[in-house]
Symmetry: C3
Subunit: 216 residues, 3 copies
C-alpha cells in the first residue's frame, strides 16, 4: 500500500463536502429564480405550477443536507470543524425552506393582489441566492478565494439591509392602505415570511465569514 493510497483511505470523503455544498448552492439559485417568476405572475394556476418547482428544489436540498450529515459521520478528518459544517448546511437549508414557506403561504392564502414590494423582496432573495451559489463555488478553493467569498458575504449583508428597508415601508404602507382586515392579515403574514427569507440569506453570509476568519 503506497503512502498515497493510505492518505486517500484516511481522507476518502473529505472532498465530498464541497460538491454537496455546491449542489445546495445551485438548488438555492434555482429556487430563487423560480420564486421571482412566481411573484411575477398573477395567475393562480401558474403559481401552483411554479410552486411545485420550488417544492421540488426544497426536497432535493433536504436530501443533500442529509447526505452532508451522513458524510460528517463517516468522515474521520473533515476540512472544517464538524459544528461549522453542520451549521453551514443548516443555514443553506433554511434559505430554501423560507422561500418554500413564503411561496406556500401565497398559494394557500390567495391574497387578492400581491403588492409590488413582494416581488421586490423576491428579487432581493434571488440575488442573495445567486451570491450564495457563487460563494459555494469559491468555497472549495477557500485558500485562494477567501477574499472573493468575503466580498460575497458583504453583498449578502447589503441585500439584507435593502430588504429591511423594503419590508419596513411595505408594512407601514399595508396598515395605511389596506382596509380589508382579512387581506391585511394575509399580506402581513406573507410579508413576515419573506423577511425571514431575506434574513436567512444574510445568515449564510455570517456563517461563511465565521468560517473564513477561523481557517483562511
Amino acid at each position: 500500500m503506497k503512502l498515497n493510497s493510505i492518505f486517500s483511505f484516511l481522507l476518502p470523503k473529505e472532498s465530498t463536502f464541497f460538491p454537496l455544498f455546491q449542489q445546495s448552492g445551485e438548488l438555492l439559485a434555482e429556487a430563487g429564480k423560480a420564486f421571482v417568476d412566481f411573484t411575477n405572475t398573477t395567475n393562480h394556476e401558474e403559481r401552483r405550477i411554479i410552486y411545485k418547482t420550488i417544492k421540488h428544489a426544497e426536497t432535493k436540498c433536504d436530501e443533500i443536507t442529509t447526505q452532508l450529515f451522513n458524510a460528517l459521520n463517516d468522515t474521520f478528518i473533515t476540512p472544517f470543524d464538524r459544528e461549522d459544517i453542520r451549521e453551514l448546511a443548516d443555514a443553506l437549508d433554511d434559505v430554501i425552506d423560507y422561500i418554500n414557506s413564503s411561496a406556500k403561504r401565497i398559494v394557500l392564502y390567495q391574497p387578492e393582489t400581491l403588492p409590488e414590494q413582494a416581488a421586490q423582496l423576491a428579487r432581493i432573495i434571488r440575488n442573495g441566492c445567486e451570491e450564495i451559489r457563487l460563494a459555494m463555488v469559491d468555497f472549495s478553493k477557500l485558500r485562494y478565494k477567501s477574499d472573493s467569498v468575503m466580498v460575497r458575504c458583504s453583498t449578502m449583508k447589503m441585500l439584507e439591509r435593502e430588504a429591511d428597508d423594503v419590508y419596513e415601508h411595505f408594512v407601514i404602507d399595508l396598515f395605511r392602505s389596506e382596509k380589508d382586515p382579512v387581506e391585511l392579515f394575509k399580506l402581513t403574514q406573507i410579508t413576515k415570511e419573506l423577511e425571514r427569507a431575506t434574513n436567512s440569506v444574510d445568515n449564510v453570509g455570517k456563517m461563511l465569514k465565521t468560517i473564513i476568519i477561523k481557517y483562511a
Copy 2:
C-alpha cells in the same frame, strides 16, 4: 477493586439515558392523548381542566430534559455523541412544547367553534406521540431493534405528510368560509401552532434516523 467495579465506576450513568428518554416518550404519549380529549370537548371549562394535565406533562418533561443534560455533564462515556443525545432530548421536548402551546392558544383565544380539522390534527399528533413512545422503548435495545425504530420513523414521516394535507385544506377552507376576521385570525394562529406540533413529531423521527445510521 475488581475490574467489574472499575467499569461500573467508569460507566455509572450511561444507563440513565435510556430510562429518561423512555419517560419523555411516556409523557409525550400522555400529552397526546389528553390533547385529543381537549379538542373533542366544546366545553370551555372542561378544556381548562384538560389543559392543566397537558401543562403538567410539559413541566415534567422539562425536568427530565434537565436531568438528561445534567447526566450528560456527569457521564464520562455516553452511549452516543453528546450532541446527538442533546438534540434528541431537545426534539422530544419540542413536541410537548408545541402540544402545550397549541392547547394554550385555544384556551386563550377561545374561538367560537373549533373546526373538525383541528381535532383531526390532534389525532395525528397523538398517533405520532404513541409512535415516539414505542420508539423510545426500543431505543434502549437499539442493536436488536434498529429495524423496528426505523419503521416507526417512517410512520412519523407518513403522519407528517398526512397532517400537511389536512393543514393545507384547513387553511384554504378557513379563508373561503370564515367571514369574521377575528375568528379567522384566531383559527389561523391556532392552526399554525398545530402544524408546528406535527412537524416536531417528524423531527424526532429524523433525529432517530440520523442516530441509527450512525451507530446501529
Copy 3:
C-alpha cells in the same frame, strides 16, 4: 521564559470572555431601560427616537457576540466548554433581539393605543435585563459567587412566571374588548413578541444554571 509567562501564553484570551459577557449584560440593561421609556410615551416621534437607542444597543451586542465567537476560535483553553460559551452568548443576544423586534413592531404597526399591559411587560423585561447584568458581573468570579448567580436565575424564572400571567390576561382581555380586527391583530402580534422577550430572559437563567451545576 518563566513558567508564569508560559501560562500567560497558553491562556492569553481566557480572560477576554468575562469582560465581553459583562459588556453584553450592560447593553441588555441599557436596552431594557430604553424599552420602558419607549412604552411609557404615547408620542410616535419620541418612540422612533428611543427605538434608535435600542437598535444601537442591539447592533453593539451583535458585535460583541461576534467577538466572543472569534475569541472562542483563537483560544486554546476556555473557562467553560466551547458549546456552553456559545449558547450563553446566543441566549444573551436573543434577549436584545426580542426587545428590538418588539419595539420595531410597535414602530411599524403604530397601534392606536398601547395597552398598559405592554408597559407592564416592558418593566418585567427591564427587571430581567438588570438581573442579567448583575449576574454577568458575578459570573467572572463564579467560584465565589455561584450562590448569588443562582439567586438571580431564580429571580429570572419568577419574572417569567409573572410575565406569563400578565400575558395570558392581556390576550384574553384583548379578544374580549378590542372590536376592531386590525387593532386586535396588531396588538396580538406585538404581545406575542413581548412574550418571547420575557421567555428569552428566563432562557439566560436556565443556561447560567446549567453552567453552574457543571462547574461551580
